[in-house]
Each structure stands twice: as structure tokens, then as C-alpha cells.
């Protein structure tokens, strides 16, 4: 009993870490994703308004901005940690208990790590940062 309560009082650091990524990914996508989809995915392609990504010159100059790069990295990376957590429990709810296991966790959160790495690579190879 003592052992149990001691174990329960220990802060769950790993939970805190994954929950931080999950909650912030959820919050950031909630605040900014609909407007990206509306402007870049619907209004721009329809020609209702001019959008930066419709034209190579404006798109590449915006992508060269380090603040834009940081923003896109935070958005895509945090979003995928959120998605990983959601989809894992979505599968559990659909009746796939294997989604709770350690290999499933490695697969889903590992997938988010891979997307993060690919995003860093894409952002650094597209309109590379130049100092001077």
C-alpha cells in the first residue's frame, strides 16, 4: 500500500511531455489551420483573392523568412504529435487494443518525429537561410 501511494505521487514526467505536445498541437491547429485551408486551399485556387503561394516569387520570399520557417515548423510538428495521440486512441475506441501497446506508441510518436525531421529538411532546403 505504501509502495502504491509512493508510486502514485511521483510526477508522471513522460505524460507531462506528451500531453504538452498533444495540447499545444491541438490548440495551435485549432487557432490557425482553418484560415490556412480556407485561403490557400479554397480562395486562392478559385482565384477569389491573390495568395502568396500562387506565385513562385512571392512564395519563395515568404518561405525565406526565418520567422515563417519557425512558425511552419512549430505548426506542422506540434500538429503531428497531436494527431499521433488522437489517432492512437481513435483506434483503441474502434476496438484495436493493440494501439495501446509500446510498439504502437513507438510507431505513432515515431511517425511524428519523422514528420518533424522531414519538415526541418524541407524548410532548410527550400529558400535556404542566407546571412549576408
Amino acid at each position: 500500500m505504501n509502495y502504491d501511494s509512493a508510486k502514485r505521487n511521483k510526477p508522471a514526467i513522460s505524460h507531462l511531455f506528451w500531453w504538452f505536445l498533444f495540447a499545444n498541437g491541438g490548440g495551435l491547429t485549432a487557432l490557425v489551420l482553418p484560415v490556412h485551408i480556407l485561403v490557400q486551399g479554397v480562395l486562392g485556387p478559385l482565384g477569389v483573392v491573390h495568395v502568396v503561394d500562387r506565385n513562385y516569387d512571392t512564395w519563395i520570399s515568404v518561405l525565406g523568412n526565418p520567422i515563417v520557417k519557425l512558425y511552419l515548423l512549430a505548426l506542422i510538428s506540434l500538429a503531428f504529435f497531436h494527431f499521433a495521440h488522437r489517432l492512437r486512441y481513435f483506434l483503441v475506441d474502434l476496438g484495436v487494443p493493440a494501439a495501446r501497446t509500446l510498439p504502437a506508441q513507438v510507431l505513432f510518436y515515431g511517425g511524428a518525429v519523422v514528420v518533424t525531421a522531414v519538415t526541418i529538411w524541407v524548410l532548410l532546403t527550400t529558400a535556404p537561410l542566407s546571412f549576408g
Binding site: G27, V32, I37, H50, N55, I76, Y89, F90, D93, V122
Partner: protein
């Protein structure tokens, strides 16, 4: 009834694995009630949002090949795909930002900020962020 219980207790004290309660969910449980269905829709929003962000990543990458290799997506299929993703993303925003009133417990001058105020602030932030991002995406275009 009594005999198997004793047997289980004996097994437990002998160091055998404890019995674990496994709740059984019938297949398709989430189709039985509107509320369950909407919960599953909320969880599913991650899929279309992930697909759209992967498309965004691809469009960023396409600009790496120089002006000749760059062409922005404009097909009707892409627009339909975006409209579907937009519906799911908006549903995610509404549910996620509404939850903030339940999750965030904020005290201001010794008084608890009412959940309704927190949710209103969240929706206000959503509007401000949307206007700012639209201004950048449209304002820097030519």
C-alpha cells in the same frame, strides 16, 4: 460461486497475474448514439488535418526546384479536398476551443474566471489569429 473465488485468491497469493477487467465494447458502439458519433468525428478530424498539412509541406518542397518546377495546386479535386478538410478542421477548432473552458482554471484577483469568459476569449483569439494569417497570406501576394 464460492469455490472458484477461493481458487482465484489462492492463485493471486501464489504470485499469479491478477485478473484484469477488460471492458467489452460492441462493434459499432459509436454509431448507436449521436453524441458518441460526434465524439468519434472529433477524434477523426486528425486524419484530414494531417493530410492537408502534408499537402502544405509538399507545396513548400515544390518551390525548392526553382521557378520552372513550381506550379500551385488548382485542380477541382484539390479544392474539393480542401473544402472537406476545412469542415473537419473547423469542427476540431470549435470542439477544442470550447473545451478550454473546462480545462483552464484561471484565477484573477482571487476570483475564478468563468468558463464562458475563457471560451469567449479563445474564440476571440481564433478570430484575431485568422485575420492576421489571412492578412499575411493575401497581403504579401502579388
Amino acid at each position: 460461486m464460492k469455490a472458484p473465488l477461493e481458487g482465484d485468491e489462492a492463485a493471486a497469493s501464489a504470485g499469479a497475474a491478477p485478473r484484469v477487467y477488460k471492458p467489452e465494447m460492441p462493434r459499432g458502439w459509436w454509431l448507436r448514439r449521436r453524441h458518441y458519433f460526434l465524439y468519434m468525428v472529433r477524434e477523426f478530424t486528425a486524419v484530414p488535418m494531417a493530410l492537408w498539412l502534408l499537402w502544405l509541406l509538399f507545396e513548400i518542397h515544390r518551390a525548392a526546384n526553382g521557378p520552372k518546377g513550381y506550379y500551385p495546386s488548382a485542380s477541382p479535386a484539390f479544392i474539393v479536398f480542401s473544402v472537406i478538410c476545412l469542415a473537419f478542421a473547423t469542427y476540431h477548432s470549435v470542439t477544442f476551443l470550447s473545451l478550454a473552458g473546462v480545462i483552464i482554471n484561471l484565477k484573477l484577483m482571487g476570483k475564478r474566471v468563468p468558463p464562458r469568459t475563457i471560451v469567449a476569449v479563445m474564440f476571440g483569439l481564433w478570430l484575431v489569429a485568422s485575420v492576421m494569417i489571412a492578412a499575411v497570406l493575401i497581403g504579401f501576394a502579388r
